[in-house]
């Protein structure tokens, strides 16, 4: 491995070879709110192969007003230790 200008490049590549991990970012629908969507993200990277399964779960979520940035919408999704959190206020 050569030429990485970023310190984290080395650990990223080593991880990529083992199991590609990605942060999931998406939107969920809202209920009782003038804004139709709420943006969310996974608190930590998830295995790339799990992203679609997580999206199916997110399609069922209806976020209600009063949520703050960082609030947990889904705790420990698929037992990964990763939460789905809000990235905006609602």
């Amino acid at each position: 491995m050569a030429g990485n200008e970023c310190k984290q490049g080395r650990s990223y590549i080593l991880q990529e070879f083992k199991l590609s991990m990605r942060i999931l970012t998406a939107t969920v629908q809202t209920e009782g709110c003038s804004r139709p969507t709420l943006s969310v993200k996974s608190s930590k990277p998830l295995p790339k192969s799990m992203l679609r399964r997580c999206m199916l779960i997110l399609s069922e979520v209806k976020a209600k007003p009063g949520l703050h940035m960082g609030d947990v919408l889904i705790k420990n999704i698929f037992d990964t230790g990763v939460d789905i959190v809000c990235t905006k206020e609602l």
Partner: protein
């Protein structure tokens, strides 16, 4: 007539950074005028991560990055006029804007920071042939539809252009189970960041058609298909390579251009290669007291750089109204040399350290980035989609002291290669 010390046009990342910096520098009355209902600019619809890696050393989504600055602006009592459209800016810094609450307002400003960002290129500006059915959107419009309005633009998508917005939309749509049939790019290399090529296109196994373009759109009321063809060295379609791809939506990701309407009204001189105002190292434009920062000056890749640049503009606006902005004795013109498309700022004094931003015209490997005789740095790879940041130290600037009126920024190298990512 109301008078403010510093008026910032736009509450996107650039405007917010400039306003916060101006207030933090001691300016009393800072007003930000924003045409949409919420601050944050386009970051509000950029729900993906990758923002703030340099500035905050954290991996944030667009809205989270924006929120940091919105909070700072609130804490510092920046006067935010939302849902307010600026209609005119004059060279003597009079601003007219309109909103539902106040009607038509005119105010004068001690200094102005232009932070209007940029807009997307559209179909007509790239001369797309064919019918004009519904279902043709710019990638950014599709992003707004999905992430803010809550609906998908179509079910079978073709994306023209491999800029970052296009690639990010390819991923976003795929995650929403929409079929992205191809990303079509006229150049032999991807137009955006490598990390997007990997995480948006290769991750989702979306066909990437480099060296191709859309030659025709089909469909009467709604897009039914597009014709795609290979192009030659002169970017002309090669007869016999036409392929028809069935789709109901065409997204255009074919470039961004700075929003220049207000800059022109104020009499600010523009540079056609960078797309925005001509600026010096304080980010002052050709009109005294009018500064600019962010995508309105030149299109950036990373919002972290937008923030840094806009902070410089905000700091300079603050110095200007306090009478502390010294115009340098010398004026060194920065010229774009070999394989450089443009350099920002356009002039420097050479009297203090400065950061230059530049873009190369073509990808290359094993090159040297040079600034006159005073700076020479080897780089393994350069590409147009990844802006160069050149830091000129006081010591380096000392070297170029005598008799110089211009510095040529160039990127020289023997190996010209189209970089292809090997994914196995």
């Amino acid at each position: 007539m109301q008078h403010v010390d510093v008026a910032v046009i736009g509450a996107g990342p650039a405007g917010l950074a400039a306003a916060v910096k101006a207030r933090a520098s001691g300016v009393k009355k800072v007003v930000v005028i924003e045409r949409t209902k919420y601050p944050g600019g386009l970051l509000e619809q950029c729900i993906h991560n990758g923002f703030g890696l340099h500035y905050f050393k954290e991996d944030l989504t667009g809205p989270e990055y924006a929120a940091r600055f919105v909070e700072k602006a609130r804490d510092l009592n920046v006067d935010m006029r939302l849902d307010s459209m600026v209609l005119n800016i004059s060279g003597d810094r009079r601003i007219s804007f309109v909103n539902k609450r106040d009607g038509l307002v005119t105010l004068t400003a001690g200094a102005i920071v232009l932070a209007m960002g940029c807009r997307e290129r559209t179909g007509p500006s790239i001369m797309l042939a064919g019918t004009r059915p519904a279902g043709i959107f710019t990638a950014g419009t599709a992003q707004r539809y999905i992430n803010i309005e809550g609906f998908i633009p179509g079910k079978e998508i073709v994306i023209l252009g491999s800029g970052d917005v296009g690639m990010i939309m390819a991923k976003r749509l795929s995650l929403e189970d929409v079929e992205v049939k191809a990303v079509v790019e006229i150049l032999p290399y991807v137009g955006g960041l490598i990390r997007n090529e990997v995480q948006c296109i290769h991750d989702f196994e979306i066909p990437l058609m480099l060296g191709h373009t859309v030659t025709e759109i089909h469909g009467r009321d709604r897009v039914e298909a597009v014709t795609v063809a290979k192009v030659d060295k002169n970017r002309q379609p090669i007869v016999g390579t036409m392929k028809r791809i069935k789709c109901d939506t065409l997204l255009l990701s074919v470039g961004l251009i700075p929003e220049n309407e207000l800059s022109r009204m104020a009499g600010v001189k523009l540079d056609s290669t960078s797309g925005g105002p001509i600026v010096d190292e304080t980010m002052q434009t050709s009109v005294p007291g009018i500064f600019a920062g962010g995508n309105v000056v030149h299109v950036h890749d990373l919002v972290d750089h937008v923030t840094e640049e806009a902070e410089a503009a905000g700091a300079s606006a603050a110095k200007y109204i306090m009478g502390k902005l010294k115009s340098g004795i010398r004026k060194l013109n920065l010229k774009a040399g070999e394989n450089i498309k443009y350099v920002i700022p356009h002039t420097i004094t050479g009297e203090k350290e400065v950061i230059l931003y530049a873009r190369v015209k073509e990808p290359a490997m094993k090159v040297r980035v040079k600034v006159g005789n005073i700076f020479n740095k080897p780089l393994r790879v350069v590409r147009p989609s990844e802006m160069l940041k050149i830091h000129l130290s006081p010591r380096e600037l000392e070297k170029g002291r005598d008799g110089l009126t211009e510095l040529v920024v160039s990127c020289v190298g023997k190996e010209q290669q189209n970089k292809k990512i090997n994914i196995s």
